[in-house]
Amino acid sequence: MCMFSKWERVLLSCLLVGSLAVAGCGSGKKDTDKGGKTKVAFVHNGSINDGGWTNAHSNGRLALLKDNKNVEASYVENVGDGADAERVITQLASQGNKVIFATSFGYMDSMVNVAKKYPDTIFMHCSGYKTASNMGNYFGRIYQARYLTGMVAGKQTQSNIIGYVAAFPIPEVVRGIDAFTLGVKAVNPKAIVKVIWSNTWYDPAKEKQAALTLIDAGADVITQHQDTVGPQLAAEERGKWSIGYNMDMSKAAPKAVLTSAIWNWGPYYEKVIKEVQAGTWKSGAYWGSMKDNVVDIAPYGPMVPEATRTLVNQAKQDIISGKLNPFAGPIKDQDGKVRVEQGQIMSDADLLKIDWFVEGVDGYISK
């Protein structure tokens, strides 16, 4: 026995040495000169084919690649918020990427840590609030698009109950629900918005189930703040209406989708890379608006009447021109207390940490 276990050890070490040697040979051809191209990398928490959040960022990357020939862009998907994020971002920085975009809120502190170690790399974090001299954050005022889609939903609903499948009660999601509800209320004061928390960003089956529950509770329009098209599929299946999010979801549910609140990251990514290439990039917090074309609404489905289209298109023009602000007072909360006075507008600081629902939301935020 003893003899054999010695042999095993020999064999084992041979294998290890062998595999390392093979590994060593294979690595010789790396690090070729990229011909002066700017290396850019993206880190995503979801899959680039999720039909939602990550997909929208991925389309932004593709638009960047198409319009800027001096860019080389790679991505890493399905990266968890815990221990993995810091390592993946570090690896990308050490591989010589000049700019790294990270598209999940949970990456924020990991990115701050890596940014300290790689002062020559530019880090861009989406949807957080921390910045550093070489780390900027960026996000978009999707609430403007939410408000407009809320108007469409408010016009379309017959049961006056609109269902909202939402991931987690963080400010980004609460803000969207509030803006949507304000849009609904602007055209249909009788309608209410029912919220179900799914407690997941990415779970197509669970999101769909939540939507079915809302439909059973009387909702005839379903919208959502998730990463997939699950809720839209539920609406399609039951013959109800739906408002998409992240991307134009009319392909997934052609009979249901009235319109979608969409992200349009391409122009922004192009702008950042141009600044980096020109050497004019500066750290800061960017919160893009409909005017910048970062957020928008998708083309209407054929079921949306002409009168609604005219109304919403006008509102869109007013948002772009600054005449209309979804968070202009008076705004009451769920208890009927006035939170924003007549003639006032909620500040960005308050919007970024909002944790209360406006009047008309039928839902609950745990505190």
């Binding site: 026995m1 095993e8 060593g24 040979c25 890493v76 221990a83 993995d84 949970g106």
Partner: protein
């Protein structure tokens, strides 16, 4: 000439160690076929993977960072599995351990290091251990199948952490994002230099050594083995099955809880949702592939850490993220499948001889 499978009565050590290793190599070869079919050079793929995980000081450090929670959970699972107590709840016990340990720095941020860390370890062990014990108690009291109860309790544990970080434990200066305040330095296990690999590695080595001795030498280790393989015989021998179920579930959960404590203490530095990307589930595969042997668990956990860390490296080469999952799946398939070769002997017999035997 016939081929016969004969149950081998005394499986020998050589085949028991060699066959799994060959199976792992076979699974790598098997996956290489897919790489070739999708137009990749498998040598390049594997070298990128292994170099990403082992080719630099940083890579090795990160591989250990990944190995530590996998090994701790794997050891916890092995304690229960050895008794045929199917604790699928490592994930939930990990979260409950992390949660209980977090309570200390949030409530007493000014404790000195020498007091803070030990209490956090005890709380982590208690958090995970009591969560496991609860499932054990259901089993002894009402014969609730522990596979179902531990699995369901995972969801409760994870949602409980969500409940706290979205609510009462939210950092007041965190703009209403679901994170607790960052831990004070005294609540963080030390790391080796500027690398992320940390003293949690000593927990792994210590616990594995203790378990190895217990499994091999102690009466209790033997008792749990007997209960697992033959509960009737165990009862005749006067072994108290109920108290052993409770004790085992507690220890199993406590080890997973310590894994959670270690992860929040040093790697994450605060409690937040998603602290585990499924360590508790992957650790089941780790424990199983290691045949519940404490020392082998460290090795398998390290291998899985390589695949995981290297897997992300592959993505930067444009490989899909499923590559690492495919490798893990193929390994499990080949190693479990190869068990037939260690448990049975293949006999080639002439047909005459075969008839005689029958």
């Amino acid at each position: 000439m016939r081929i016969k499978l004969q149950k081998s009565l005394a499986p020998n050590l050589v085949s028991q160690t060699l066959i799994p290793i060959v199976a792992i190599l076979a699974s790598l070869f098997f996956c290489a076929i897919f790489f070739v079919l999708t137009g990749r050079d498998p040598v390049e793929v594997y070298s990128a993977m292994f170099l990403g995980a082992l080719g630099s000081e940083y890579g090795i450090s990160e591989t250990f960072v990944k190995m530590i929670p996998l090994a701790l959970c794997g050891l916890g699972i092995a304690v229960a599995f050895r008794m045929h107590l199917w604790n699928i709840g490592a994930e939930g016990q990990f979260y409950m351990g992390a949660c209980a340990a977090t309570w200390i720095p949030l409530s007493f941020p000014n404790l000195p290091f020498m007091l803070m860390i030990p209490t956090m370890i005890i709380m982590g062990a208690l958090g995970g251990g009591l969560w496991g014990l609860l499932a054990g108690w259901f089993k002894t009291k009402w014969q609730v199948d522990e596979i179902i109860s531990t699995l369901m309790m995972n969801y409760i544990g994870i949602l409980w952490v969500d409940f706290l970080v979205y609510g009462a434990w939210r950092d007041p200066n965190g703009k209403n994002f679901p994170l607790t305040a960052a831990f004070p330095q005294s609540a963080m296990l030390p790391t080796f230099g500027s690398l992320r690999v940390h003293y949690g590695i000593f927990f792994v080595l210590l616990i594995a050594a203790v378990l190895w001795i217990i499994f091999k030498k102690s009466k209790w280790g033997y008792e749990t083995l007997v209960i697992g393989s033959n509960p009737v015989a165990a009862r005749y021998a006067g072994i108290n099955i109920k108290s052993n179920v409770l004790l085992t579930m507690f220890i199993s959960g406590a080890l997973c809880g310590i894994a959670g404590m270690v992860e929040v203490s040093v790697v994450v530095g605060k409690l937040q949702p998603g602290i585990s990307p499924g360590y508790g589930y992957t650790a089941i595969i780790v424990a199983w592939l290691a045949r519940l042997h404490p020392i082998a668990i460290i090795g398998v956990a390290f291998l899985f850490a390589i695949i995981h860390v290297g897997g992300f490296m592959l993505q930067t080469m444009g490989m899909p993220s499923a590559t690492a999952t495919m490798l893990q799946g193929a390994m499990l398939f080949f190693v479990v499948g190869s068990e037939i070769l260690t448990k049975y002997e293949i006999k080639f017999t002439s047909s005459k001889e075969g008839e005689k035997n029958e």
